[in-house]
């Protein structure tokens, strides 16, 4: 909310500077985000036009002679409406106007224009002006108008939390300030003269929807004069962020800004029989509102209507027909209280957020209606010359009464951790408009209805805390005692994996959990979990795999010529399982480009077996036996894909992404990807490994190259070797070769076996016999041949 400084100060006197006011309010919870200072400065004086004559060299210009009571000035104008005798606002050279421009003495077609006559636009009082402003008020000549009209007044930009509807009016903010600076809150002028006729002779109100509108006050005024508002009113509205329209509309906005209670004004001639009917909308009813849009109603809105048509959607917006126009004479004034929840639902359903709905949904004071009405009448009488009738219609069958809250003195000091003097407590609460009764060990507090946020003891504790000042509370060390490990085992497990992957050269990434359902279907052929209200089309579902975030990042980098990428992310993926959304935490690993980008002696690119190496490294360090079963997987490249298995359970997937991904994301080169289920692996991981005794006897190593046909899993041979003899210490592969002396559909794999006994040195002959035997068995069992016969 925007709070013009001088307006605020109308209700409370303080010696504090504007900065001090802003700071104190902020520290009491009325958060001032900014103090806006208008750029206008210099000298703008009131002056009378003494003489007007034609510019000697132009038909389209006039020359005016101006007198400010002491001096004469000459100016050239293109505004032909300026007449002799007009009083105008004259900006002296050097003056900075609202738009930042500086007034200078200039020669216009040979005539020196010493000063400038201002329009309302140049004074910041109108969005667009056609003419020089001719002053209507009675202002002495030579008056400093910047000061007189307070054109350089500062405005505070205040953020009001949703619990404080009372501060959505300037008086509410002033009440806070008065409490803080120990001042008195001044009430605005509410006095007016009423004619002899009575309101009930003109206006009748029937509430059919009492739930939506618990109170409806109506007033009636005759013969208003619709015209532009005076300068002071325009300036306050503009500084508060509302565009002036005409005096009556401006006053209704003004009263809302002042009191925080939105009001509405109807043209009496548009209301059939002057009979206002407050009713619930019928679903499907249509109405054209002030914003010139037609809305279909949802059956939950509270309507202000007459017997034929809708006059307004109550508390939200008036209809386009019923409002005040230039022709309006007699008016009905509405000050009502609408149910906050109903307003919020209606405003959401219609997708209309107005200044009125914003206040009503937060809860205005149902009991200030007559006060607000009187203020409204007072201003309309003063500014639009309307004549009030006797009395107001006030339909309020079930009065909303004040709540009482008990505050125990012991509880106050227990929660705040500091003891506040009884006197201070009483002063704070009374100043905030509450009635306090001291009952020895507690206070009995009557809460005014403009504070719907205060309903329990803690709310009062907050009131005292925030006004008394939280800086007065001394720090206390909590007696927290650690109950077990700070991190869960899963948390530690996750951290271990992150460290392993980072150590293996992978950068950790974080990406949004969203994906595009179109891309998901296109690339993976699965139906993802869709959001009901996505922000954009490319984030319309939750990702079923981490690949989407990782490849997005890959593509971001590729577009910037960064082509060697090894990334991982540990995060959740989301799927429908048995029609229920399920989230599972996964480890996603992606790699493309050079294997060792920082090693200029190694120009190899990443391969399927490098990816497998990452898996083996994890297996080794996490003490789990992760194995890969080759398999055809839709979105991976045939022949380079498989499921990751752990003790007969599938815990992941790995392989080279198929070319669809390259196309969709416009990336060249092979991309390898692996995704593992964190929790499944965690469940089976061993925190403590079984240690084998380390033998000190010498090892004997034997190698053999076998020709392995395409499609054969070498894992079988490795396992065979492992189980072949009690002295086998380690089995591995020392080379994989594919070349011209190897048949096309074969690959030569060199296996090695290390034999070692724990109690003696093995002899060569012994090992030869064992190894030979095993190799022969392998040849027979798997039908593979030795490369070198």
């Amino acid at each position: 909310m925007l709070v013009p400084m001088e307006w605020l100060k109308e209700y409370v006197q303080t010696k504090w500077s504007d900065e001090e006011i802003a700071n104190r309010l902020t520290m009491a919870g009325v958060s001032v985000k900014n103090i806006i200072m208008p750029p206008i400065k210099g000298k703008i004086l009131s002056a009378i036009v003494k003489k007007v004559y034609k510019h000697p060299h132009s038909d389209k210009l006039h020359v005016c002679e101006l007198f400010d009571g002491t001096g004469l000035y000459r100016t050239v104008t293109s505004d032909m409406n300026v007449n002799e005798g007009s009083v105008v606002a004259v900006a002296m050279p050097g003056t900075v106007l609202v738009n930042g421009s500086v007034v200078e003495s200039v020669s216009i077609k040979g005539v020196l224009s010493e000063v400038m006559m201002c329009s309302l636009q140049e004074l910041g009082l109108e969005t667009k002006s056609e003419h020089v402003y001719q002053i209507e008020e009675d202002i002495p000549l030579g008056e400093d108008l910047i000061r007189y009209w307070k054109l350089d007044d500062k405005t505070m930009e205040v953020e009001i939390t949703p619990n404080r509807p009372d501060c959505l009016g300037i008086i509410g903010v002033a009440r806070e300030l008065a409490t803080l600076c120990d001042g008195t809150l001044q009430q605005p002028d509410m006095i007016f003269d009423a004619a002899d006729n009575h309101v009930e002779d003109f206006v009748k109100v029937t509430i059919e929807d009492l739930d939506g509108c618990p109170r409806y006050c109506a007033g009636f005024m005759e013969s208003v004069e619709i015209r532009p508002s005076p300068i002071w009113l325009r300036r306050r509205l503009i500084n508060a962020g509302i565009r002036p329209i005409n005096n009556v509309v401006d006053i209704s906005n003004y009263v809302m800004l002042e009191t925080g209670h939105p009001v509405h004004i109807f043209d009496y001639s548009k209301v059939i029989d002057g009979h206002i009917i407050v009713r619930k909308a019928i679903k499907g009813e249509e109405v054209k509102l002030l914003d010139e849009k037609t809305y279909a109603l949802n059956g939950i809105e509270t309507l202000i209507a007459d017997k034929e048509k809708i006059l307004a959607v109550g508390g939200i917006m008036g209809s386009s027909q019923s409002g005040v126009s230039d022709l309006t004479k007699d008016i009905i004034l509405e000050v009502a209280y609408f149910n906050p929840v109903r307003i919020r639902r209606s405003s959401k359903a219609l997708n209309i957020k107005s200044d009125a709905s914003y206040r009503f949904e937060r809860g205005v004071d149902p009991n200030d209606a007559l006060m607000v009405m009187k203020r409204l009448v007072n201003l309309i009488e003063k500014i639009a010359y309307g004549k009030a009738t006797q009395g107001f219609v006030d339909v309020y069958p079930r009065k909303i009464t004040s709540k009482y809250v008990t505050l125990r003195k012991s509880r106050l000091s227990k929660v705040l951790g500091v003891t506040v003097e009884d006197e201070t407590v009483q002063k704070i609460l009374s100043s905030l408009g509450m009635k306090v009764e001291d009952m020895q060990d507690r206070w009995h507090v009557e809460i005014p209805t403009f504070r719907p946020d205060v309903s329990i003891e803690e709310d009062l504790i907050e009131e005292i805390g925030r006004i008394h000042g939280y800086e007065k509370i001394t720090q206390q060390i909590p007696k927290v005692s650690a109950s077990g490990k700070g991190w869960s085992d899963l948390n530690t497990f996750r951290k271990t994996i992150r460290q392993l992957l980072i150590g293996s050269g992978f950068d950790e990434t974080v990406s949004l959990s969203f994906a595009s359902s179109k891309v998901v279907k296109q690339s993976m052929n699965v139906e993802p979990l869709r959001l009901k209200n996505p922000m954009t089309e490319d984030m319309d579902c939750l990702r079923p795999s981490l690949v989407f975030g990782l490849i997005d990042s890959l593509s971001h980098n590729a577009k910037r010529q960064i082509k060697d990428v090894k990334f991982f992310e540990i995060a959740k993926v989301y799927n429908l399982e048995n029609r229920t959304p399920v989230e599972r935490e996964k480890i996603g690993v992606i790699m493309t480009g050079q294997l060792n980008e920082e090693d200029y002696t190694d120009h190899r690119f990443v391969s399927m077996l490098n990816l497998k190496g990452v898996l083996d490294e994890l297996s080794h360090h996490l003490s789990v036996d992760l194995q890969v079963d080759p398999a055809q997987i839709d979105w991976l490249t045939p022949g380079r894909s498989g499921y990751v298995q752990l003790e007969n359970e599938t815990v992941g997937i790995m392989g080279m992404l198929n070319s669809k991904f390259n196309q969709i994301y416009d990336i060249k080169g092979e991309i390898y990807y692996m995704e593992l289920d964190l929790e499944k692996i965690f469940t089976k991981s061993k925190t403590v490994k079984e240690l084998k005794e380390i033998s000190s006897f010498p090892a004997v190593r034997r190698d053999i190259s076998l020709l392995i046909p395409v499609g054969f899993s070498s894992k079988q041979i490795l396992s065979f070797f492992e189980k072949s003899n009690e002295y086998v210490e380690k089995v591995g592969v020392s080379d994989v070769y594919k070349g011209k002396d190897i048949p096309q559909d074969m690959v030569s794999v060199t296996f090695y076996v290390i034999y070692r006994a724990s109690d003696r040195s093995l002899t060569d002959d012994e090992v030869n016999a064992v190894f030979e035997g095993t190799v022969s068995d392998i040849e027979k069992q798997f039908n593979v041949k030795r490369r070198f016969m």
Partner: protein, 334 residues
């Protein structure tokens, strides 16, 4: 006397082409049976009156030869070492051959730091689901439907479920399953419909909860100032600014003094001297009632912070979207 010998010998030394040859020469001259040694031995055979002079001359000669050999040795060693250096030369000003180690994501790095601070204070880390029901996300937290505070939590919906807008539901789940005292923090991803330089539709939150007997605002102040000092620096202070959250009462915005100006006000802190880092408050009695705790017996404080915001302040990062772009050049800074 010995002039010719001296001349020849020095010439031989000068001619030595490597250390080996020089050593052989040294032995031939000064060794046990060396030419000079023999000469020295021969002095005894000279007539008595010639001996002193011959001794002197020979000694001088011996010294001169020794010096010459030493000098030659140094020269040859220098040459040898130069040759070796040529042979072994590796340009160590070339870049080293690295086995590249990866980088932690800045968010995760900050999160780890936050976790360590609170765990050292006795807090336990608890995690929970991202897909939530609105009871755990809102209602249990004293935010009924149609409460205007829901405006600040514009949620993503999945039929009747939603993506949590904060990790507070984890607090609810913990309180429902455990009895006080409770001291937990709950880190995790949360979701709100907002996307610009200072908002991501998905961000990382850490929320904390401490419930015990006699917990006051004083305890909250201590804990959060300790936290701010650990993460931003010992000289930092905090202040509590009254605010509003439906699930705490009283509620605060917690500001930390600006690290650039130390609280005097500068461009970095918008001339206020303070930077907003987190929200906090005393747990609302309705929240306690919703989980079956007696608000008369138990009091507590709760707080919540955006890890992205803390990271931005810590490393002076301007655009929050950098965190999810994962530009390798950005990631390599952490």
């Amino acid at each position: 006397m010995f002039e010719q010998l001296k001349k020849d010998t020095l010439q031989q030394i000068a001619n030595a082409s490597d250390l080996e040859q020089l050593e052989r020469l040294r032995v031939a001259l000064l060794g046990k049976k060396g030419v000079i040694t023999e000469q020295v031995k021969g002095i005894g055979k000279l007539p008595a009156e010639e001996r002193p002079k011959a001794g002197k001359v020979l000694n001088e000669l011996k010294e001169e030869i020794q010096k010459a050999i030493e000098a030659k040795k140094e020269e040859l060693e220098r040459i040898e070492s130069q040759k070796l250096s040529q042979k072994m030369w590796v340009d160590v000003t070339l870049p080293g051959i690295r086995r590249r180690v990866g980088h932690k994501h800045p968010i995760m790095k900050t999160l780890e730091e936050i976790e360590i601070i609170f765990v050292s204070m006795g807090f336990k880390i608890v995690e929970g689901p991202e897909i939530e029901d609105s009871w755990h996300n809102f209602d249990a937290l004293n935010t009924p439907e149609w409460h205007p505070a829901r405006d600040e939590h514009d949620s993503f919906y999945l039929d009747d479920l939603l993506l949590r807008t904060h990790t507070s539901p984890v607090q609810i789940r913990t309180m429902l399953s455990e009895k006080p005292p409770i001291a937990i923090i709950s880190p995790g991803r949360v979701y709100r419909r907002d996307y610009d330089a200072t908002h991501l539709p998905m961000f990382t939150q850490v929320e904390g909860l401490y419930v015990d007997e006699d917990v006051s605002v004083g305890h909250l102040k201590y804990t959060l100032e300790k936290f701010a000092q650990e993460i931003f620096g010992k000289q930092r202070r905090i202040r509590l600014r009254p605010s509003f959250f439906p699930f705490t009462e009283p509620s605060f915005e917690v500001d930390v003094s600006c690290g650039v100006c130390g609280g005097k006000g500068c461009q970095a802190c918008g001339y206020s001297g303070w930077l907003e880092i987190l929200g906090a408050g005393m747990v609302h009695p309705n929240v306690f009632k919703n989980v079956g705790y007696d608000p008369e017996r138990w009091t507590g404080f709760a707080f919540g912070m955006g890890v992205e915001r803390i990271t931005m302040l810590k490393y002076n990062i301007k655009d929050m979207r950098d965190f999810v772009r994962n530009d390798k050049r950005f990631l390599e800074n952490f």
